[in-house]
């Protein structure tokens, strides 16, 4: 966990890509779950942020 947080602070690709992946996955789950309409409503924003983040952080150093 400490390594992950250090990686985030030092703008390293691995942890940031992991964070973006988690956001994309969360967005997809929110989009397709049948329980909460509010989660469906906000899902696109979460997926969009995750996807844009993924594109940006894939240019970070290893």
């Amino acid at each position: 966990m400490t390594g992950f947080l250090t990686g985030l602070l030092r703008l390293r690709r691995g942890p940031w890509e992991m964070l973006a992946t988690i956001l994309i996955a969360l967005g997809v789950v929110m989009l397709m779950q049948p329980f909460f309409l509010w989660a469906y409503t906000w899902s696109f924003l979460v997926t969009l942020v995750g996807t844009v983040m993924f594109i940006v952080v894939s240019h970070f150093p290893e």
């Binding site: 973006a20 989009l31 397709m32 309409l37 469906y40 969009l48 995750g50 996807t51 993924f54």
Partner: protein, 315 residues
């Protein structure tokens, strides 16, 4: 000495033109070769995408080309993301996605594990298992509608044989809640071989010496399976899951031919719903917003897919 067509073409080229071509750098020549592809990519993929983004902020309707087009900002997105009908089609897609992935992974991995052993007729069996994947989804959709027919279909008679339920008493594609399972069965039948092939590649990439070392350490077969086989096949399995996940998220042809989204809206997947919004109700601006939402989702999943693919390549 015989002259090839290239030699003849070189001789026929005017000296002024040949001097110009000879003066081009390697980079320029590379650009000349790549330019047509880039142009086509821009014209066929990128331009329509940008145009769709633009349309998603308007009230444009393709069946009313002369009507005034108004800028509506984010209203289309707001309407799509609060529409309970679209939410229902998302959950229908989720049902289809989760169950097809579950069955394809379980059956595909089991088949790969069995096929990986050396036995007579191994190659023939692999070819037979892979056959459904080679068929066109349109063909599969059409012939499964016949297999699912309550009066003449084979499926109902097989169910009658095993359960005693009269064949004509139920319809897999009719009302009664069986249709979502009917499309899961067909997709599983068609695409399990794909997952099996990827798992097989993963299983064959595990070197024998790892198992030999485990044997020397007296690890049981069960332990070898969970500590060697599963972890080493997992990246391949993840790749298969992501690929099938993306493909099934966009599923249209097979389900459109099997059920057309019916009965009612029981099998209304997002792609079929989107087609209805865009080309039956002609709500182009609204459906563009819908399409962009699906596109961003698929793009996000594809990014993860590429990352997983690179990890597998590194092995």
């Amino acid at each position: 000495m015989t002259q090839t067509p290239i030699d003849r073409l070189a001789r026929a080229t005017p000296p002024t033109l040949s001097r110009k071509v000879r003066g081009l750098s390697d980079r320029a020549i590379a650009w000349i070769f790549v330019a047509p592809t880039i142009f086509l990519l821009l014209a066929i993929n990128i331009f329509p995408l940008i145009w769709t983004v633009r349309l998603s902020f308007t009230n444009f309707a393709a069946n009313k080309p002369n009507a005034e087009v108004k800028w509506v900002g984010l209203r289309n997105y707001e309407r799509v993301l609060t529409d309970e009908g679209i939410w229902a089609s998302m959950t229908t897609t989720a049902h289809f996605l989760i169950w097809t992935l579950f069955f394809q992974v379980v059956i595909g991995f089991t088949l790969a594990w069995l096929i990986n052993r050396k036995f007579r007729g191994n190659d023939l069996l692999t070819t037979l298992i892979v056959l459904p994947m080679m068929l066109s989804p349109a063909v599969v959709g059409n012939f499964w509608t016949f297999l699912y027919q309550p009066q003449i279909g084979l499926v109902n008679y097989v169910v009658e044989l095993f359960t005693g339920t009269p064949a004509s008493s139920f319809s897999m594609l009719g009302p009664g809640g069986l249709a979502p399972w009917a499309i899961v069965i067909v997709d599983t039948w068609m695409w399990t071989p794909f997952v099996m092939l990827i798992c097989l590649a993963g299983l064959r990439s595990i070197p024998d010496y790892i198992y030999e070392a485990a044997e020397i350490d007296r690890a049981s077969k069960w332990r070898q399976f969970w500590t060697i086989t599963v972890p080493m096949v997992l990246p391949f399995l993840m790749l298969a899951v992501l690929f099938r996940g993306i493909e099934n998220f966009k599923m249209f042809d097979m389900v459109a031919l099997l059920t057309g989204g019916g009965p009612g809206n029981e099998t209304l997947l997002t792609s079929i719903d989107l087609k209805r919004e865009a080309f039956e109700k002609w709500r182009t601006g609204y459906s563009s917003a819908y399409a962009i939402i699906l596109f961003v989702t698929v793009f996000g999943l594809a990014s993860i897919y590429v990352k997983a693919l690179n990890k597998v390549k590194e092995r």
